[in-house]
């Protein structure tokens, strides 16, 4: 205090002191301002950059691979699914003896000698990371874990599985190890199926635990779109089975089946033989991966005669009753001779199709003329891509037939190429009253959140021929499966079949001519009176027999039988009820129509044209198999309605009750316990 008082005494001193205080204050304020400015600069201007730098040090991006979308058939059965499986990796720097570890791993994974060597090389090459086995099986993971080696790691990787195995394998295609589509639909819709890989930012603490700070993503967001096909699993299965049998029995090299709904253009089955298991695509031969049905164009042979006849009828160049002279089996055009398998003299349009006369088809082609022949082939959809959305789809070629012989051969399907799908679609146009529908394979691509990315609906391409001509030609084609036709083996008991055989000569690319190899085919429309399916069977290079009627027709029949049952197509021929229409005098039961206890043993009564002509008595079907009961009720002009399956346990109304014709009888069925 005293010092202060003493210091206050000199005036000059005080002034100097004040100046010093102010200077110091200013200095400090200045420093403070600099510090503040710097803070503002760092916090405001440099914020983003610095935050990134900081996050690089402690925030980890946790990658979440997208889940590849599924592929379904038309009824929602999965054809391709993705599941995350373990992949095994190693940190070679933590392995004490790489060679020993490699040997132990190879043993645990049951690797072959070459794979074991590769594994060892990988482990020796990698410093901190090397794949041991990607997409390993659970047993393999267990085996590796049992080794309890240091430095082993396991990560999840999505793997593609095909639960139906060989079914429609070529249509599905193949996915590589890194989840990219390599073939087929997997390639065509790779972008849609893949989905978005996403990453979450979170911390990883000292113990390596994950610590999320942002919340998780909706799992829907990282899922790929699902693709729904028009294929029907059952028909596909039946088609493949029949095709494989046809190919094996005829010792052929390959085969193709197309099943198409003519009214919509939907492809119900697209089968190829030989097949492969897409779950292990590595073991398949490259040839087996090919989706021949859509990709390969070949010379179709006689199956195209129906188009030529239809075109000629439409252009009124030909009347159904016109007859042509078939030169008794051999016809010279310039240097070439056209042959028939059997010699024929005079044939009508129907006869030409029935016995498949090349010579007469060529004459119809002449009558039709070059321009119109080519124009009609184009109108039926040949020589243009059908737009199946499959990569590398074939197009086929219809060269303009300048030479006389080219016109002749193109009239019976040689000297031009087409894909199996094109032929089936062309027949679809005939079956669909002359209107060509665009064939399609993918009906829908839907995002997991329900947004429809792509939807295909039946599209009319054009009217090719009038419905009258189309029906005429289908009617003519019915004669092909008759006894005198080329394919009696394709005839079905319950359904009317219209079809055409084809036995094409295969061009020899080396010798520049035709070889003795053949492509046998049969294309059929069932039921001919109200077509529900077009089925094309192609067998490539059959050895035992070469004719479509012998090689392909039986497969057609097998597929058609299953298809008609599966599509629930009513029989073309009315069920001839052996049990029916026997006007019996009403038996005892009829006198007490409301009897509550109908005994199954009682002799069954079919139709009782009882008291009134518009009424019938309900037959007793208790205890019978569903089918027998239905036949009996139909025979009685009643309408059965079934609940459940098995044998009939109850019927309403009860047996013996008088009901109006066409009344519905409800049957409850149950399997025996």
């Amino acid at each position: 205090m005293r010092d202060l008082k003493a210091a206050r005494v000199p005036e000059t001193n005080t002034r100097w002191l004040r100046l010093r205080v102010m200077l110091m204050g200013g200095l400090f304020l200045g420093l403070l301002a600099v510090a503040f400015g710097r803070a503002v600069y760092l916090q405001v201007y440099e914020q983003d950059k610095l935050r990134e730098l900081a996050q690089d040090q402690y925030v980890r991006q946790i990658d979440i691979p997208a889940r590849r979308g599924d592929i379904f058939d038309r009824r929602g059965t999965p054809l391709a699914q993705s599941v995350e499986v373990d992949s095994i990796w190693a940190d070679p720097s933590m392995l004490q003896d790489v060679r020993k570890a490699a040997r132990a791993l190879a043993k645990a994974l049951k690797l072959g000698a070459q794979d074991a060597e590769e594994l060892q090389a990988r482990l020796q090459r990698g410093k901190r990371f090397a794949w041991v086995k990607r997409q390993a099986k659970p047993q393999e993971v267990e085996a590796v874990k049992a080794l309890s080696l240091a430095g082993m790691g396991f990560t999840k990787e999505p793997k593609r599985f095909y639960p139906q195995r060989e079914l429609a394998a070529q249509v599905m295609g193949v996915v590589g190890t890194d989840g990219r589509g390599l073939e087929g639909l997997e390639l065509a819709f790779n972008d849609e199926l893949s989905g978005q890989n996403s990453s979450l930012s979170g911390f990883r603490d000292a113990k390596g635990r994950k610590l999320l700070m942002q919340g998780t993503l909706d799992p829907i967001e990282r899922e790929g779109a699902s693709v729904t096909l028009t294929l029907d699993r059952h028909l596909q299965y039946v088609a493949e089975k029949a095709l494989v049998r046809a190919v094996e029995e005829s010792k052929a090299v390959a085969g193709t089946v197309v099943v198409l709904d003519p009214k919509t253009g939907e492809l119900l089955a697209l089968a190829n033989a030989p097949g492969f298991n897409p779950n292990t695509p590595g073991s398949a031969q490259q040839e087996a991966l090919r989706n021949r049905a859509a990709l390969d164009a070949f010379e179709p042979g006689s199956t195209t005669k129906a188009f030529v006849i239809a075109a000629a009828l439409e252009e009124k160049a030909l009347k159904p009753e016109d007859v042509f002279f078939c030169e008794n089996g051999a016809w010279r055009i310039g240097r070439y001779t056209i042959n028939d398998t059997h010699s024929y003299a005079w044939l009508s349009a129907k006869g030409i199709l029935q016995v498949s006369s090349n010579i007469c088809a060529a004459k119809v082609g002449q009558v039709l003329g070059r321009e119109r022949l080519v124009a009609y082939y184009h109108a039926f959809g040949f020589a243009e891509r059908t737009g199946l959305s499959l990569p590398g789809e074939g197009k086929g070629i219809i060269p303009f037939p300048k030479a006389e012989v080219a016109l002749a051969t193109q009239s019976f399907g040689q000297g031009m190429t087409a894909t199996a799908v094109q032929i089936a679609a062309g027949y679809g146009a005939l079956a669909n009253e002359g209107v060509l529908m665009r064939p399609y394979l993918v009906s829908k691509v839907v995002d997991p959140d329900g947004v429809v990315l792509l939807e295909n609906r039946p599209v009319e391409v054009r009217r090719v021929v009038s419905s009258k001509v189309a029906r005429q030609v289908v009617g003519m084609l019915e004669s092909v499966v008759a006894k005198e036709g080329t394919a009696p083996k394709a005839a079905m008991q319950e359904y009317r079949v219209a079809g055409k055989t084809g036995t094409a000569e295969k061009a020899d690319p080396v010798a520049r001519g035709y070889s003795d190899k053949r492509i046998a085919s049969f294309v059929g429309v069932v039921p001919a009176d109200n077509p529900r399916a077009v089925i094309l069977v192609v067998v490539d290079e059959p050895k035992t027999d070469v004719y479509g009627g012998l090689v392909a027709a039986p497969a057609f029949k097998e597929i058609a039988t299953a298809a008609m049952a599966h599509l629930a197509v009513p029989s073309s021929r009315t069920i001839s009820p052996e049990v029916a229409v026997a006007p019996v005098a009403p038996p005892v039961a009829a006198k007490a129509p409301l009897t509550p206890k109908p005994t199954p043993e009682r002799p069954t009564v079919a139709v009782q044209e009882g008291e009134g002509s518009g009424t019938v008595r309900v037959p007793d079907v208790q205890g019978q198999v569903g089918r027998e009961a239905v036949v009996k009720l139909l025979a009685s002009a009643l309408e059965p309605q079934l609940l459940g399956s098995g044998r009939v346990v109850s019927q309403t109304p009860a047996a013996g009750v008088l009901v109006d014709k066409g009344a519905r009888v409800t049957l409850e069925l149950a399997t025996r316990p």
Binding site: T77, P78, Q81, S82, V83, E84, K156, F161, P163, Q164, R165, E166, L167, L200, G202, F203, R209, K210, L211, L212, M213, T216, P219, H234, Y237, M492, Q493, T561, A562, M564, A565, A568, S571, L594, P596, K597, P598, R627, V630, V631, L638, E639, P640, Q641, L642, V649, S650, Q651, T652, P653, A654, V657, V659, D660, G662, A663, R664, V665, T666, E668
Partner: protein, 131 residues
């Protein structure tokens, strides 16, 4: 003395009054600090739980996918047919064995009066008899 003591008490009270804002401020800061720390702890804890739940969700999804795949594999037609043929002695139905009926369309009432004629109770009795 009394004067001094009274002056002292007054001064202590005054000091307290003077200090009160500082104490309150300190308490406020402390409270905010504790709250902040607690919330941070809660957030971190929540983060752990979140990541745990997320990985659990993923493993459940994976399991679900796997089971779906297994189901589809078991229902593959080739396998079903083999089982039906070999174990149950079944076969593919020949064409004549399949009868197709008119589809049952919802909302379309047929003219058939067969059902209407029977009282409902009878059906039950009938069913019991049939068994």
């Amino acid at each position: 003395m009394t004067q001094v003591s009274s002056r002292n008490t007054v001064s202590v009270g005054r000091v307290l009054v003077h200090l009160l804002p500082a104490v309150l401020l300190f308490a406020l800061f402390a409270a905010v600090g504790i709250l902040h720390v607690t919330s941070r702890v809660l957030v971190v804890d929540m983060g752990y739980r979140l990541s745990k739940a997320e990985s659990e969700g993923r493993s459940l999804t994976r399991e679900n996918d796997r089971l779906k795949l297994e189901l589809a594999t078991l229902k593959a037609p080739a396998r079903l047919e083999k089982l039906a043929r070999e174990q149950l002695g079944m076969m593919m139905p020949p064409g004549s064995a399949v009868m197709s009926l008119e589809p049952e369309l919802p909302g379309v009432r047929r003219k058939g009066k067969g059902e209407a004629r029977k009282p409902a109770g009878l059906r039950v009795a009938e069913r019991e008899n049939a068994r």
